[in-house]
């Protein structure tokens, strides 16, 4: 059984070669995947054009179901963006170096899911063409957006997060882009020359780079918590039963990290399989990610239980009614599926054999995300279906137009990601080398002695049991 995160004997050249190979010569499977994604996006664009021209009624939105899948999917994508930051910034600060082979694609996932999420608040508007009115630009008429509205906070939070996570992704990639530049020809060489900003790998550059990267990581960490808290205030700041919940900010953040970690597992399995990254995305690293996911799943489960207990013991009639209707009402199949996928299924992660089994982890992580998507839907819709005024109680099922746009968003995300993995290195070459280098110090005896190990450090391991 493999226990080491990475084989510390890998040669630098092999790392470069393996990662650069993954960026070249797309096979037919790649083009098929691109084709599917493009088709999904096209269908969504057609649906959106239809909706734009005809009005939001085509989505089967009605009174009182003013929001539905769009906002639920918006929260889902925002949530998915959080784990990239967790892996790249938080684990960077706490020196968890097992993140190094997998943080790059996680961070790309962050940026792309934010780019997907940002579409939804725009296209769910009744008058899309006036969307820029939510931005505080200086206008002749002295009109401002309403700074008390959580939707405005959303706009600020998303733009801040999108900008900083895209920059963080880019800055962290500069040394790798220089490697690509040195190995590329044609248009790629031109592209990487521009993007690598003249990186030569001098000491001075590395020092500045380290500092900048650390500062950006520190800047991103509060964002990872605040962005989804702000998104949750769309609901927590309203007065609707089932939305007006004090624990929503931590609940949303936990759910965000949860679905993000699940997505990382999914992409981990896919990249490992298709790009032959077995030596970098190793089973022990997967296992660590999975353990993290399990912990987050338990936090999330705890928080929803708290939320429901608070509603139940709070005894507010409308709150209790919504709670009961979630379990027994028309949406109950989805709600129970959500609880199963989100809370019961994570217990498969408690078994080591399953944690190390890639196909199981692939399926289970997809189911986690299904559960998390349902969770968002089950936050938005039951409250609309059954709020304070009984005359306005109504059940609505979304039409094919809504579903097309929701599925299209997955195609859009997939397309961005597919383009990314063929243009940018999806494994951080320089950080894997760092990781290998540090591991070597511990394993190779001469090096361990040479680097003046302090008293109390673990003794160097000369033979590697179990490998």
């Amino acid at each position: 059984m493999q226990t080491k995160d990475i084989n510390e004997q890998i040669a630098w050249a092999k790392i470069n070669k393996d990662v650069l190979r993954s960026m070249e010569n797309p096979r037919s499977g790649y083009w098929i995947a691109v084709g599917i994604c493009v088709a999904m996006v096209l269908v969504a664009i057609l649906a959106e054009i239809y909706q734009y021209n005809a009005g939001l009624g085509v989505g089967n939105l009605n009174w009182p179901h003013m929001w539905d899948l769009y906002i639920a999917t918006f929260i889902f994508w925002i949530g998915m963006s959080h784990s990239g930051t967790l892996l790249s910034a938080i684990l960077h600060i706490v020196h968890a170096d097992w993140r190094k082979p997998i943080y790059r694609f996680a961070e790309a996932m962050t940026t792309f899911s934010l780019m997907t999420a940002a579409l939804f608040p725009v296209l769910h508007l009744g008058r899309v063409w006036n969307m820029y009115w939510v931005l505080p630009y200086v206008s002749d008429r002295g009109l401002w957006p309403n700074f008390r509205s959580p939707l405005i906070w959303d706009a600020f939070a998303i733009f801040t997060y999108l900008t900083s996570s895209a920059l963080f992704l880019y800055v962290g990639m500069i040394p790798d882009l220089a490697i690509c530049r040195d190995n590329a020809h044609g248009w790629r060489r031109k592209l990487y020359t521009v993007l690598s900003l003249g990186w030569a790998g001098t000491d001075r550059q590395w020092r500045h780079f380290r500092k900048a990267y650390l500062l950006m990581a520190c800047f991103l960490i509060p964002l990872a918590v605040s962005v989804h808290s702000i998104v949750s205030s769309d609901f927590a700041m309203s007065i609707m039963p089932g939305w007006h919940v004090t624990t929503f900010p931590p609940y949303f953040v936990a759910g965000a990290l949860y679905s993000g970690c699940a997505a990382i597992i999914t992409l981990f399995v896919l990249l490992r399989y298709f790009f032959r990254f077995e030596e970098y995305m190793t089973i022990p690293i997967l296992e660590k990610t999975v353990k993290l996911t399990f912990a987050i799943a338990m936090v999330w489960s705890y928080l929803w239980i708290i939320e429901f207990l608070a509603a139940w013991y709070g005894g507010h009639k409308a709150d209790v009614e919504i709670l009961v209707s979630k379990f027994t009402g028309p949406y109950s199949p989805f709600f129970i599926t959500m609880i199963f996928c989100g809370t019961v299924l994570p217990f498969t992660l408690a078994f080591e054999r399953l944690r190390r089994h890639l196909p199981t982890m692939f399926v289970v992580s997809l189911l986690f995300n299904l559960g998390m998507w349902l969770e968002r839907w089950m936050i938005v819709t039951p409250t609309l279906a059954q709020a304070y005024h009984p005359f306005a109680w109504n059940v609505m099922w979304p039409s094919v137009v809504q579903w097309a746009i929701v599925f299209g968003s997955f195609g859009w995300f997939g397309l961005l990601f597919l383009v990314f993995v063929k243009i940018f290195p999806s494994v951080s070459m320089y950080e894997v080398k760092e990781m290998v280098y540090h591991r070597r110090r511990h394993v190779v005896e001469e090096l361990a002695v040479k680097y003046h190990r302090r008293a109390g450090d673990p003794q160097p391991v000369t033979d590697n049991p179990g490998t």
Binding site: W63, M66, L125, V138, F391
Partner: protein, 285 residues
């Protein structure tokens, strides 16, 4: 478009909102609806359609809950309170007829729809009205989601295209607009009539008299169940009724000296501070 403009408007905005909106109201338009007088004839609803250019959406869209009735008569058949009190057997209530509840925008003074609008398309006017600016609305629909009464209606389609086939478009009220798809709308207390009356009073150099104008629903109600007027005018019929029924604005709970007096406001415990006073129906049982 200058820094001066920016700073001035910003500080004006800040000052207005720190104090929670307007306090020096010119008027405080309010309503009293007597449920004992309401016979559920829906005339008020029809009048509202005619006065406010409400789109007629057709049967199919009505069934899909996409109708635009600012004033709606809610019909309730069951009386769980009476059943629970043992005064009625289950199912016996029908012989006493349905209960009707006319609902139009409650014009809340602490309206939950106002703070959530991202572009401030809904705000409080110095008249105590909860105004909706169609031109400013971008259709995020957050206001409707945050309205506990669900009294805001959204233009899910371009209703005007089919709502008034020629020559029915000739019946449209020229005093106000026809709304296109993508904006929210709701009862305005017939703001065009308020506007006209205020303008007339200003021209004649006097205050608006009580009863000088009526809202369309009030005008049409055959049983005069609806009374409308200015709460800041102590002599208006509305003020006198609010005083008699011992209901006050700005409270989440009314402590009445005479609890037998029927007036109540719907869901005032949510601190929405609605401006419509309902008079409870007196049951025979």
């Amino acid at each position: 478009m200058s820094l001066k403009n920016l700073l001035e408007n910003w500080s004006r905005y800040r000052r207005g909102h720190e104090q929670g909106g307007y306090h020096d109201y010119e008027h405080m338009w309010a309503m009293v609806i007597d449920l004992d007088k309401c016979i559920g004839c829906n005339a008020c609803s029809v009048a509202c359609y005619a006065e406010n250019n409400l789109a007629v959406v057709g049967e199919e869209r009505f069934a899909r809950n996409q109708a635009m009735h600012w004033m709606r008569i809610e019909r309730y058949w069951d009386e769980p309170d009476l059943e629970r009190a043992g005064k009625l057997e289950h199912g016996e209530y029908q012989q006493y007829g349905a209960s009707f509840l006319p609902m139009n925008c409650q014009q809340c003074n602490a309206a939950t729809c106002e703070p959530v609008c991202p572009v401030a398309a809904t705000y409080h006017t110095p008249d105590g009205l909860n105004a909706q600016v169609y031109n400013r609305c971008i259709g995020s629909r957050y206001c409707s989601n945050n309205c506990p009464y669900r009294l805001r209606f959204f233009n899910f389609w371009s209703y005007y295209e089919t709502s008034w086939p020629k020559p029915l478009d000739m019946q449209l009220n020229p005093d106000l607009t026809v709304r296109d798809k993508g904006v929210m709308e709701k009862c305005t207390f017939c703001v065009q009539r308020i506007r006209a009356a205020k303008d007339k009073a200003a021209r004649e150099g006097r205050k608006v008299r009580d009863g000088e104008f009526q809202t369309a629903c009030q005008q049409t109600c055959p049983t005069t169940a609806i009374v409308f007027g200015d709460l800041l005018d102590p002599e208006s019929q509305v003020s006198r009724m609010w005083r008699y029924y011992e209901v006050e604005l700005g409270k989440t709970e009314q402590h009445k000296r005479h609890p037998e007096r029927r007036g109540y406001r719907i869901m005032e415990e949510l601190n929405t501070d609605p401006c419509i006073l309902f008079l409870e129906r007196v049951r025979e049982v």
